[in-house]
Amino acid sequence: MKITVKLFAGFRDNRFKMAEQDFPEAATVGDILTALNIDGPELGVALIDGRHVLPEQVLVDGQILSLFPKVGGG
């Protein structure tokens, strides 16, 4: 299935900003993190189509996954 992955802040270093990538059916957010060589504890926030999700969340073809390290401001 095709997933658009968007990376932010330090996750962009040596990776990319946005890419459409192929993943096996029923891949989870955690599987995609592994494929991107991002350790689970590095993850701050994952959003699918603008909604917060957990690493166990299973993706569906055509979704947009946004991944942020632990960041903040205000």
């Binding site: 968007k6 932010f8 802040a9 330090g10 962009r12 900003k17 701050g44 926030v45 959003l47 603008g50 909604r51 917060h52 946004s66 942020f68 390290p69 632990k70 960041v71 903040g72 401001g73 205000g74």
Partner: protein
């Protein structure tokens, strides 16, 4: 021995008073709000002789505690009509604390209609003729004071909008690099102008160290606290690298980034003004600094020095809310243009949140085209900065612009502009905006931490569940933290690392030689928050004022098409403590 300076502008005297026993362990917001609540008649006109302007360094300001260099300023606000506390970095908090000035209370108004500069020394305050400074904007005032004294002189100043008592006027504070930090929100610059004080200079000659009752306990706690700041990924890594502006992209992805005067929750050009782009822009230019502290002793370094392509200074302290307001909400896509407007707002002395929010409403009114950064800059310098008739309409804030042009999408609560997080799609912050004693203020109970950033747990931003409790707890805790002199970002480690909050409380206990538990500390926050609420009630505010503007209820915001859907009774539950 700490003291209070009571400055009377009516007879140009300064009394040096003993610190009352009940004030000894207070500081910052706790002290300014206690004094304002006790001494300012709630129904007084904010620009009249009965309002008072109070400055107080935080409980830990001037000590070796990291992040503790913030000063609180308090008064009845001419923008909101409520009690107001606004804190800022710079150099004066640490100067006051080391000089033993627990608070400076400014009351009355001059009878001779002359402008003054207050000159603060260890002995008291003298009243200097300020006629040569009148009409100057802030950077020129700072240059003049540096030339008269030296660069160590502390400076708090107002620009021309403050002289003219415009409700968006702030009080600008010189920072360690001779640039500007601001007591931004709530129009305190207009209160200073109403007392005909153009500038306050602070000469700390003879100041000693802040007395610590139990130095050993203090040192141990300070170490744990500083380690917490460096260990937490947000304060140790995210903020220093990207600054607060890292939030542009995350709010955009979450659909909570108010765009084109709160019409949309996402913005197509978001990455042009994002924290990531700003970092790369600054790092790629000569003399740019991606890290910078607003006061000596800051180890987070979330600020920056923003320069142009040639390496010439444009601005510093270029925060998320300002970049959002100009770059996203006004659709000004050129980050350099946004930086120049930020610098202009520092220079003329208006709150950069109110200034950006009112500019978007002015764009909706047709005063200037959407996205026109050059015209936005001209309006700041030539209209608001010079207090022309249209400049006065704008410089009196977002609500003033909305009323003058007959608009309904006017994002204010208690007449203060709503900042950078849409309350329909980040519902916890909507509860804070609605109920804060300060008018719409994200920092008063920063639910973004838990709604968006997953710090201190997670409460779904689009659901109503848990938002009232979240906002209530954060408003209480923030009132306490605002009293310490600490920057608000200490909250991130406090929420996630168990030993950080007790270490902060231990530092306060060791500073004053008292017993204080975390519960005592939070209890102080609750007490002060209720005191502020009682002031507002006595000033004529009711539960009906704790509401968001109506358009949030009938204009769904894309992409989630969320509306504001709390009932009045649900909102009022915030005060159930």
């Amino acid at each position: 021995m700490d003291k209070i300076f009571r400055v009377n502008m009516s007879d140009l005297t300064c009394k040096v008073e003993k610190v009352p026993a009940e004030f000894v362990t207070l500081g910052g917001r706790a002290l300014t709000s206690t004094i304002v609540a006790a001494e300012v008649p709630p129904m007084c006109h904010p620009l009249g002789p009965n309002n008072k302007l109070v400055f107080a360094p935080g409980q830990l300001s001037g000590t070796a505690a990291a992040q503790s260099g913030r000063m609180s300023a308090g008064a009845k606000s001419p923008l909101t009509g409520t009690i107001k506390e606004s804190n800022a970095g710079g150099t004066t908090a640490q100067q006051f604390a080391k000089m033993g000035i627990k608070a400076m209370i400014i009351e009355g108004q001059p009878k001779d209609n002359k402008w003054y500069r207050l000159h603060v020394t260890m002995d008291g305050v003298t009243f200097e003729d300020a006629s040569e400074l009148v009409g100057k904007q802030n950077f020129a005032v700072i240059d003049a004071m540096n030339a008269k004294y030296d660069t160590k002189i502390g400076v708090m100043t107002i620009g021309v909008p403050g002289e003219n008592r415009l409700a968006a006027a702030n009080i600008s504070v010189k920072d360690p690099d001779q640039k500007i930090r601001s007591h931004g929100r709530g129009g305190l610059g207009a209160v200073m102008g109403s007392k005909m004080i153009k500038c306050i200079t602070v000469d700390a000659t003879g100041a000693g160290k802040v007395e610590i009752a139990d130095p050993e306990k203090f040192r141990a706690a300070a170490k744990v606290f500083a380690k917490g700041m460096l260990d937490h990924p947000v304060t140790g890594e995210g903020l220093p690298i990207y600054g607060t502006n890292v939030l542009i992209n995350i709010l955009n992805e979450a659909g909570g980034l108010p765009t084109k005067n709160f019409k949309y929750g996402q913005c197509e050009h978001h990455d042009k003004v994002s924290g990531e782009t700003m970092h790369d822009t600054i790092a790629g230019r000569p003399n740019g600094h991606t890290k910078h502290g607003c006061h000596a002793g800051c180890i987070i370094q979330c600020s920056q020095v923003y320069v142009d392509e040639k390496g010439e200074y444009i601005t510093s302290g270029f925060e998320y809310e300002t970049v959002w307001g100009l770059g996203i909400n006004c659709l000004i896509e050129d980050l350099d243009d946004c930086a120049r407007i930020d610098n202009a707002m520092d220079n003329i002395g208006i709150d950069s949140i109110e200034g950006a929010v009112l500019l978007a409403v002015a764009m909706e009114a047709g005063v200037l085209p959407w996205g026109d950064g050059k015209e936005g800059l001209r309006i700041m310098n030539e209209e608001i900065g010079k207090c022309t008739p249209i400049g006065r309409i704008l410089g009196n804030g977002t609500g003033s612009v909305g009323q003058a042009f007959g608009l309904t999408r006017v994002p204010v609560v208690k007449n203060q502009g709503i900042p950078a997080y849409d309350p329909r799609s980040v519902k916890g912050i909507g509860i804070t905006y609605a109920t804060s004693t300060q008018g719409a203020d994200h920092t008063a109970g920063y639910t973004i931490a838990t709604n968006i950033l997953k710090v201190g747990g997670f409460v779904d931003p689009l659901s109503k569940d848990g938002q009232v409790e979240l906002s209530r707890n954060l408003q209480i805790a923030t009132t306490a933290v605002d009293s310490t002199g600490m920057c608000i970002f200490v909250a991130f480690p406090c929420l996630d690392i168990p030993e950080v909050m007790p270490a902060m409380v231990d530092m306060i206990a060791a500073r004053y030689g008292v017993d204080m538990s975390v519960d005592d500390f939070v209890g102080m926050g609750a007490k002060i928050l209720k005191m502020e609420k009682e002031f507002n009630t006595a000033a004529g505010f009711t539960a009906e004022d704790d509401r968001l503007p109506e358009f949030f209820e009938y204009e769904p915001i894309p992409p989630h098409n969320a509306v504001w859907d709390f009932t009045p009774a649900e909102i009022d539950e915030v005060w159930n403590f």
